[in-house]
């Protein structure tokens, strides 16, 4: 069945790099990123939109990559956790903040938190504590506890201000 499945052309720009792909319609964006583009930074947790681990930015907006079909995103821009690194390969502000604040243990949920915080700080460059919590409310972490992650939101905001 799979071998006869119709495939569709789609152009996805991922972390600034355009990719022309030919995919079956049922390919989830999360699987497209990991399997077709080998960008395994995006983690797949629950696969039904609850955990937030697979969150990526689509045209700058945090979106569950397990809840979109790759073929539905023709021409759109996607940013994954790999795209949050500085051009020289050093950690970006959000990544640095998670590291400094011990905002991760096993790291499974971390890519989803990072993409969410990256976009959240564009909307709210200096979040209050409540806003920082609301920003990451759609992401689950089972080991760190959220205190250090909320701390990392504030630290990332600080780093972004300093880097300007």
């Amino acid at each position: 069945m799979t071998s006869t499945e119709t495939r569709h052309d789609v152009l996805l720009t991922v972390n600034g790099v355009p990719h022309r792909l030919n995919l079956p319609a049922r390919r989830l964006l999360s699987d497209c990123l990991r399997h077709d583009l080998k960008l395994t930074g995006t983690h797949v947790g629950c696969e039904h939109g609850v955990c937030g681990a697979c969150t990526v930015l689509i045209d700058g907006k945090p979106t569950r990559s397990c809840l979109v079909l790759a073929v539905a995103l023709d021409g759109q821009e996607i940013t994954t956790v790999e795209g949050l690194t500085n051009p020289d390969g050093s950690l970006g502000c959000v990544q640095q903040a998670l590291l400094e604040c011990h905002g991760l243990q096993c790291g499974f949920c971390t890519p989803g938190f990072m993409t969410t915080i990256e976009a959240g700080l564009k909307q709210q460059p200096a979040p209050t504590d409540d806003e920082a919590r609301e920003m990451v409310a759609g992401n689950l972490c089972r080991c760190t506890g959220y205190q250090n992650i909320v701390g990392a939101v504030h630290r990332a905001a600080e780093l972004k201000r300093d880097s300007r």
Binding site: R26, R64, C66, L69, D74, M135
Partner: protein
């Protein structure tokens, strides 16, 4: 946890979407997909065709005028929530939308999609029903307007035909001297509510003129209870008013059939419905009193 194979059509126009749906007996429309994709992944749904409407131009409109709020089929929850004119014209839409999923889900999910998904534990079907709004759909037989009261016919079942595409929802404006409130209880923020209640109360000189309450997650369809005959002429800020409200809510409970699941027993859901209904109707009364005091009684010149 992967969808089964399906045929896929990226429609460029409503006509093309309708034509594609008409050629299949079990096609589904893909808009935001925040409810549909999980159903496909869990293989609870297995349509042979998906018609993607995301490429259709002009469907993402959020328009607020003196009549009310008009939402195109591709208006994302987040865009509706961020629209200050829509919030002004009908504040109940924004009040309920802030409870729909998480911000990340609202970035992709569409309000119209939520309406046609017809989940009795979702906020927006209840709000459309409570406000007596409507949904415009287009099919091979043309365009028609479905009033909310005839839209919800069963669990996850709306009165749309399989070859019809929902194109626009309409939420009527909040009339003058009228207040709203919405509240829900969920186990986790952003999760499905165990129970949610919305209310619309109209006042006249500090007393109720009309009142309705709507319930979600306590029946297999959203349910609206008319409370006017119980509450008309009462002030809900008095002790007597609160006693009458309690009786009115008890009466409304007769129309509900809360079900038990792993998250809550029937009795607990019924308890939530009672507590929330009293709280929300009283809050809508205060909101109405406040709006009546801060806004000229003539209202907008519409």
């Amino acid at each position: 946890m992967k969808p089964a194979p399906f045929n896929y059509v990226r429609a460029d126009s409503i006509e093309q979407a309708v034509e594609a749906l008409a050629g299949s007996s079990d096609g589904k429309v893909l808009a935001g997909g925040q409810s549909l994709i999980p159903l496909l992944s869990m293989r609870l749904a297995g349509p042979s065709l998906l018609v993607d409407i995301n490429g259709i131009a002009g469907l993402d409109e959020v328009r607020a005028d003196s009549d009310g709020v008009h939402l195109g089929a591709l208006a994302r929850h987040a865009d509706v929530l961020a629209n200050t004119a829509a919030r002004e014209v009908q504040p109940l839409v924004a009040a309920a939308l802030s409870h729909v999923g998480h911000a990340t889900i609202r970035n992709r999910g569409t309000t119209v999609g939520s309406l046609v998904h017809a989940d009795a534990s979702a906020e927006m079907p209840l709000i459309l029903l409570l406000l007596a709004g409507s949904l415009d759909v287009v099919g091979p037989r043309g365009r028609r307007t479905i009033p909310a009261e005839s839209l919800y016919i069963g669990p996850l079942e709306s009165s749309l035909e399989h070859d019809e595409v929902a194109v626009e929802a309409f939420f009527p404006a909040l009339p003058p001297m009228t207040g709203i409130a919405f509240e829900e209880v969920a186990r986790r923020q952003g999760d499905y509510a165990l129970c949610g209640v919305g209310a619309v109360v109209e006042v006249d000189g500090g007393h109720v003129r009309s009142a309705r309450a709507g319930f979600m997650s306590v029946h297999d369809v959203p349910v609206v209870a008319e409370l006017t005959e119980h509450l008309a002429g009462m002030s809900l800020s008095t002790q007597e008013g609160r006693v009458v409200l309690e009786a009115a809510v008890e009466h409304a409970m007769g129309a509900l059939d809360p079900a038990a699941d792993v998250h809550a027993s029937e009795a607990y859901r019924a308890h939530l419905a009672r507590v929330l209904a009293k709280r929300v109707v009283a809050a809508a009364f205060s909101d109405a009193t406040h709006r009546a005091a801060t806004r000229p009684a003539v209202g907008s010149e519409a």
